[in-house]
Point group: C2
Chain length 407, copies 2
C-alpha cells in the first residue's frame, strides 16, 4: 500500500470538474462533478440524524436499490435540508439535468449539498452550473484538486487522498475528497466524503468494507458534537483495475479494506485538524480498555469535552478535565488505575500514574502541547482493547465563525 | 409560597460565616461555614461521574448512613478531586477540626470543595480558616450573602434564594446558595448547592423531595456538557418551624416539595445564566412530546448544542441548528410536524411550521434574540408531555476563561 499525491481522479476512468455557480458564495467555485467512464458499483453511509437533508434521502434510496452510479453532482453554500417536498423535487431536477447533459440514466446520478440549512437551491443557477461542468470534465490531478476546493464551506483547506495497492496482481487505486469543518460529529458517516476506486468488487463487499472503515475513521472524529443533517460518504468502484472480482472475504478483500481504511482515516484526520477555528489536531488514544466499544466511548468522551478542548488551545496540561471526561462517559472503570500521557512531535510525558498526578514539569508539558498535533494516551489497565478518536481544540475563532455567520 | 430576599440563614436556627484562607485565591474570601443550632435531618444527591472527589465520597457515606448534620464546611479554589487517600484523609481532618471548634460530633460535619482538580488542600490554612469562622457565625442576611460569595470560583455573581410557605399552620422557610459556572452538566445533582430549612420532615421524604426536584432543576441545566467530579446538593432540615412532622405524602409534603422545586429551579437558572462567559440565559421548552423522558432528552440536546449556543450569542435565528440538534438527540419524531418559536422580553415569533421556515422577519427575530433571557419553544406535536432545559450562549469569554486559566 502506498500513499500518493492525488484525489478523486487518481483511480482509472474517473474525471472531475468544477464551476462557480454563485449559489451563495461570490468569487469562488461552489459546484463539483465526479464522473466515471463506466457505471460503478456503489456503496454509501448516511447521517443518523432524524432530520435528513433531501439529497441524503435521495441518494440513500438509490444506493439501497442497487443502482450503479455514473456521476455525482455536489454544491456548497446551501444544504437543501429542512426544505420539504420542494427540496426533494430539486434533487430530482438536478439528477435529470445532469443525466441529460451526460447522456446517462437519471437513476445513475447522485446529488449532494452542504451549507446553510433551510434555504431552497436556486435551480436556474444549478442547471447552468451543470451545463458548464460537463464539457470541462477531466482526469487530471488539477481537476480533482479544484473539485475538492469547490465543495468547501468553512473549511480552510481542501482535503484529498489517494492510495495505491496491489490486489490479485493488479494495481488498484482508491482516491477521495471530503469537506467538513463545523457540525462535525459523524454518526454512521461524516459531512461529505466522495471516494472513487477502479477496484473490481461486489456491491455487498464494497458496502461492508465501507461500513467497517467508516466506523473507525469518520465516526471517531468530532469538532463540536453536532451531527449534521447532510453526512454522506459514498464510494464508486468501476472495476477498471481488472483485478479478479472480489466477492468473498479473502486476502484480496482484506487488502482492499486496509487501503480503504487508510483513505478514510487520512480524510477523517484532515477534517478533525481543520475543525472550525482549530489550531491543533487533538488525538485521544484509549489503551487497555475492557472492550472495543468502551474504548471508543471513552476516547470520544475526552475528544468532545469542551473544557479539555479549551485547555488544549491554551497548551495547558489540565489532566483533571481528561479524567473528568473519562469519568462521565458512562463507562465503568477504576479511576485509581488510570495512567495518562501527552505526546506530540515535541516529546512524550507521563502526567498521571494510578489516577494521581506525577511530579512532572509543567514547562515540559506545555512544550509538548504547543504542537499542531497533540495526542493524549489514556491507559485504563482494564483489558486489551484500544480505540482512537480525533478532534480539535476549542478556540475564539470557533465562536466567531458560528456566532457571526449563518453557516 | 413567597420568594424573599435571603439565603442559607433565612430559615430559623441557621447561621453562616466566611473567611479568606488563601487556599488558592488572593484578596477574597474562599471558605464558608453553615451551622444549625439543632442537628438536622439531611438529604443529598451527588455527581454520577465515576471520578468522585474525596468530599463527595465522604459526604455521601455520611448522608446515606442517616447521621444528622450539624455543620457544613466549604472551600473554593481546590476541588480535592483525584487526590487519592491523602485527599480522603484531609476530609476527615477538616471534619475533625470543625467538630472540635464547634464542640459537636465529627460525624455531623459535611465537607465540600470546588476548584482545581488534582491539587492537595493546604490543611494548615484550612484549619486556621475553621478557627476564624466558628466565632464569626451569624444568622444575619449579610452572613448568608458573604458565604455565597466565598464559595464562588469562575462565577461572576453569588447565587442565593429563599422561599417562605405555610405548612400545617406554621411558617416554613427554605433558603439556599449554590455556585457553578463551568464544568456544568449536572447528572443527579449540580456543582455545589446548600439548602437549609426549618421544616419538620422525615429523612426519607426529605431525600425523596430533593431527588424529585433536582431531576427537574439542576439536572436540566448545562453550560458545557462536562459533568463535574464534585457535584453536590445537600439539604439540612432542623425542624424549628414546628410544623407537624411530614412523614407521608399528603398535602404538607406537596407544599414543601413545591417550595423546594421553586428554590432549586431558581438556583439552577441562576447557574445557567452565569455560565462561564455567558451573555444570556438560554431556555429550551419542548412541548407535546410523546413522553417526559423524550421531552427532556430533546430539550437537553438543543441546550447543549455548541452551534446553537454560538448562534444565540450572535443573536442569529439559526433555526436549522435547533432542528439538527433535535434530530441527533436519539429521540424518534416526525421532522415535518415540528413548530418552533423564539421568545424573550422583546416579543415572541414563530419561525418554523411543520418543519419548514415561515416567511418571518429576520430583524424581528434578531430583536427577540437580543435579550439576556432567550427561550426557544419546540412543539413536537407527538403527545402531551413537556420539559424545560436551561443553558447559556457560547462566547469568546468561555474559551478565554478555560484556555487561559487552570480552573
Amino acid at each position: 500500500m502506498k500513499k500518493m499525491d492525488g484525489g478523486v481522479t487518481a483511480a482509472k476512468g474517473f474525471m472531475a470538474s468544477n464551476t462557480a455557480a454563485k449559489i451563495k458564495y461570490e468569487g469562488r467555485d461552489d459546484m463539483a462533478m465526479i464522473y466515471s467512464e463506466k457505471p460503478c458499483v456503489t456503496a454509501g453511509t448516511f447521517t443518523s440524524n432524524i432530520v435528513k437533508a433531501a439529497p441524503v434521502q435521495y441518494d440513500k434510496k438509490l444506493v439501497d436499490s442497487g443502482e450503479k452510479a455514473h456521476a455525482i453532482v455536489i454544491n456548497a453554500g446551501i444544504a437543501n435540508a429542512c426544505t420539504g417536498s420542494q427540496g426533494m423535487e430539486y434533487c430530482i431536477e438536478t439528477a435529470k439535468a445532469t443525466a441529460e447533459n451526460l447522456n446517462i440514466s437519471e437513476k445513475s446520478v447522485l446529488v449532494a449539498s452542504t451549507g446553510v440549512i433551510g434555504m431552497q437551491l436556486p435551480m436556474d443557477r444549478i442547471k447552468i452550473g451543470i451545463r458548464q461542468m460537463v464539457p470541462a470534465l477531466s482526469s487530471t490531478r488539477e481537476a480533482a484538486n479544484k473539485a475538492a476546493k469547490a465543495i468547501m464551506t468553512t473549511d480552510t483547506i481542501e482535503k484529498e487522498v489517494a492510495i495505491k495497492t496491489v490486489i490479485g496482481g493488479k494495481e488498484v487505486t482508491i482516491g477521495g475528497m471530503c469537506k467538513g469543518s463545523g457540525m462535525i460529529h459523524p454518526n454512521m458517516c461524516t459531512m461529505l466524503s466522495f471516494l472513487t476506486s477502479d477496484v473490481n468488487i461486489s456491491k455487498e463487499l464494497l458496502q461492508e468494507a465501507l461500513l467497517e472503515t467508516v466506523n473507525d475513521s469518520y465516526n471517531m472524529i468530532s469538532v463540536d458534537g453536532d451531527t449534521s443533517t447532510n453526512d454522506t460518504c459514498v464510494i464508486l468502484a468501476n472495476g477498471l483495475a481488472e483485478n479478479g472480482l472480489i466477492s468473498d472475504k479473502g486476502e484480496d478483500y482484506e487488502k482492499f479494506k486496509d487501503a480503504l481504511m487508510e483513505v478514510n482515516k487520512t480524510l477523517a484526520m484532515k477534517m478533525a485538524g481543520d475543525g472550525e477555528g482549530a489550531t491543533a489536531l487533538f488525538e485521544v488514544v484509549v489503551k487497555n480498555a475492557d472492550s472495543v466499544d468502551n474504548a471508543k466511548v471513552l476516547a470520544k468522551s475526552v475528544v468532545t469535552s469542551s473544557l479539555t478542548k479549551a485547555a488544549i488551545y491554551g497548551h495547558d496540561a489540565n489532566w483533571g478535565r481528561i479524567l473528568c471526561a473519562l469519568g462521565y462517559s458512562g463507562v465503568n472503570f477504576d479511576p485509581e488505575k488510570v495512567d495518562l500521557y501527552f505526546e506530540s512531535a515535541n516529546g512524550k510525558l507521563q502526567i498521571i500514574e494510578n489516577g494521581v498526578a506525577l511530579d512532572y514539569s509543567e514547562s515540559e508539558a506545555t512544550e509538548i502541547l504547543s504542537s499542531n498535533h497533540v495526542t493524549a494516551i489514556c491507559d485504563m489497565h482494564m483489558g486489551d482493547y484500544q480505540a482512537t478518536a480525533w478532534g480539535c481544540d476549542l478556540t475564539y475563532d470557533y465562536v466567531k465563525i458560528n456566532a457571526d455567520y449563518r453557516s
